[in-house]
Amino acid sequence: MRFLRHLAAVVLTVAIIVALGMLWAHASGGTGTGGGTGTGGGLKAAPSREVLQRLEQVKTGAIKIQSDDGFQANTGNLVRTCEIEAVLAAVVITVGSIRRRNRRMRRSAGVRA
């Protein structure tokens, strides 16, 4: 029961964020087709410039629609993501350790005084 109550609160929070995003899109006029020309009611819109660019990237192999098998895909991409995460985490851990050590030293200096 408690879990369901919390889940409802979470879903509501997420819905508010999404609604605010929609409002932002609406306010900036960004809900349209980003360059597409089709505006007729029953007509299909022409693909936007972004979609065409993406299709070109798919054709040239820059973006894969399906991995051949998980392990032969672009591992360099995954390694780069891991590196960024590791560096950022290391910075936060180092700063946290230094701050904790300084706090401890200050506290022990206060006790001695």
């Binding site: 979470v10 995003g21 899109a25 960004g30 895909a73 891991c82 985490a89």
Partner: protein
């Protein structure tokens, strides 16, 4: 003082802690994979993103008590919890917008379900920006709880079935 009620309660706490730990690990791995579009390909990227959204809802629900408790204490002095709260709020907003915009610009997953939405450059930009912001915030979010993660990993490494710790 180690009667049955205490053991049951400790076991329940341990089970919950274990669930938290493995769910967090799953989220971290899933996000890392989902961000690496070149590694997964677009189909896996999209389905992984949708799955990530569901697991994220569970993660938030399990920690909702912390959200309420820390939000109430925001006005009290003490900077660390406030900083963690701010990072978590930014992460919630960026990850929610990242997943929502990802669904709105879906090229494989949604069409497979028979849903086709009109492509929007706005949502594509939002998706790219929030994915980058999330990539910065995820390791910060994990690193701020580094001592808990190390403590739990050590505990699990020395855990033997049938032995209550």
């Amino acid at each position: 003082m180690t009667g049955p009620p205490v053991t049951v309660s400790r076991r329940r706490i341990m089970a919950r802690t274990r669930l938290d730990f493995w769910l967090d690990a799953l989220l971290l791995v899933a996000y890392t994979l989902a961000y690496s579009l070149g590694f997964t390909g677009i189909a896996v990227h999209e389905w992984l993103g949708i799955g990530l959204g569901v697991v994220l809802l569970v993660h938030l629900t399990l920690h909702w008590d912390w959200v309420i408790r820390t939000t109430r204490k925001l006005l009290l002095p003490g900077g660390r919890e406030r900083f963690i709260w701010l990072v978590n709020l930014l992460l919630l907003v960026s990850m929610t917008l990242c997943i929502a915009s990802g669904i709105l610009i879906s090229e494989v997953a949604l069409p497979e379900l028979g849903i086709t939405l009109r492509a929007s450059s706005f949502w594509r930009n939002v998706h790219d920006t929030t994915a980058t912001v999330t990539l910065i915030l995820v390791p910060i979010h994990a690193a701020l709880r580094w001592r808990w993660i190390v403590g739990m990993a050590r505990r699990f490494a020395s855990w033997r079935p049938g032995r209550s710790r």
